[in-house]
Subunit: 213 residues, 2 copies
Amino acid sequence: MRDQYYEQLDAIVDDLVDLTGTVRRAVADATKALLEADGQIAESVIAGDKDVDEATETVEERTLLLLATQQPVATDLRQLIATLRMLADLQRMGDLSVHVAKIARRRMPESAVPEHLHPTILSMAAVADSMIDSASRIVANRDVAKAAQLEAEDDEMDLLRKDLFRSLLGDSWDYGVEPAVDVALLGRYYERIGDHAVSMARRVVYLVTGQLT
Amino acid sequence: MRDQYYEQLDAIVDDLVDLTGTVRRAVADATKALLEADGQIAESVIAGDKDVDEATETVEERTLLLLATQQPVATDLRQLIATLRMLADLQRMGDLSVHVAKIARRRMPESAVPEHLHPTILSMAAVADSMIDSASRIVANRDVAKAAQLEAEDDEMDLLRKDLFRSLLGDSWDYGVEPAVDVALLGRYYERIGDHAVSMARRVVYLVTGQLT
């Protein structure tokens, strides 16, 4: 009975790690849709979000069931509570990918992002991807040392967003208001995706060390 | 012993309701700082956010302690889990007020919002305030019927944000890129404050009815 319980706890960690993979694909696809102005990919990200929602809700139900039936204490209790938070982070990252895809869709057949900013957006997407990957490894291996790397990546994301804003608020911006608004919102969305990865990692650090960072 | 436990459960609900009051003040002050270009109020919102964080963390710790020591089941368990989610919503609403205050501060001594959009921003702030108030009453009284009103307010918020975007993307926008970016982000922040109020209400509806809306 207890063995089965520990198997279920481990299965939930595996599910969390799987979900980070799903979310990484959503972010990558949304970015592709955005930069290549690919309507089909944009639609697939938008339609696919219900799968992310369903998958997170399934894991949530199993977590709540374990909480209710096994009445875990101490570390196990904290792990299950942390899981619920991390599921909320993953769901939001999915939503944010949809926001990116919707901006992509609205500007078809053009790309919503002026050509010279494609490298910055690509870098933001790459940093976001790497941050979710780091968070996933921290969840899987409780590798708390990796959390410092994630914070460094978060600083990099912050610099990229500042670059983006400097460009669209500079004198040489001649694309007008609409692309500026899109790019500002996109900068915000990628930054928030990164924030949720940091939040997941901090939950694990708290579990392992008992310290809120 | 059980009596004391139920007192603690009730006290946590009271704390949640108190926190909604704190967050409503933060939103109202941030809006005042924004529209009146009042630097002192902007600073007080930014500095005050650590109080929101500390207050939510205190309630969080008490909730976790109850979970760990009382091992609640069924409705009580679900209520405590819902509390943790609602605390996260409240903390985010505080953060979003800080984002509003920071935009206000960046544009001093001007208001970041062109005069003719002040009524729209005021309406968004009023709807946000009313939404948090509704969420608070739903939490306090488990008045699930009120949730329908909150969804209607959320629709109103959506219309206001669309108004805002129509204005800043229209031909008559002659304030340039920077105010457009600010106003777009502000629209997003107020909308997200409303979303978190809806999310709190849905947690209560789920508690009472067992239905995810």
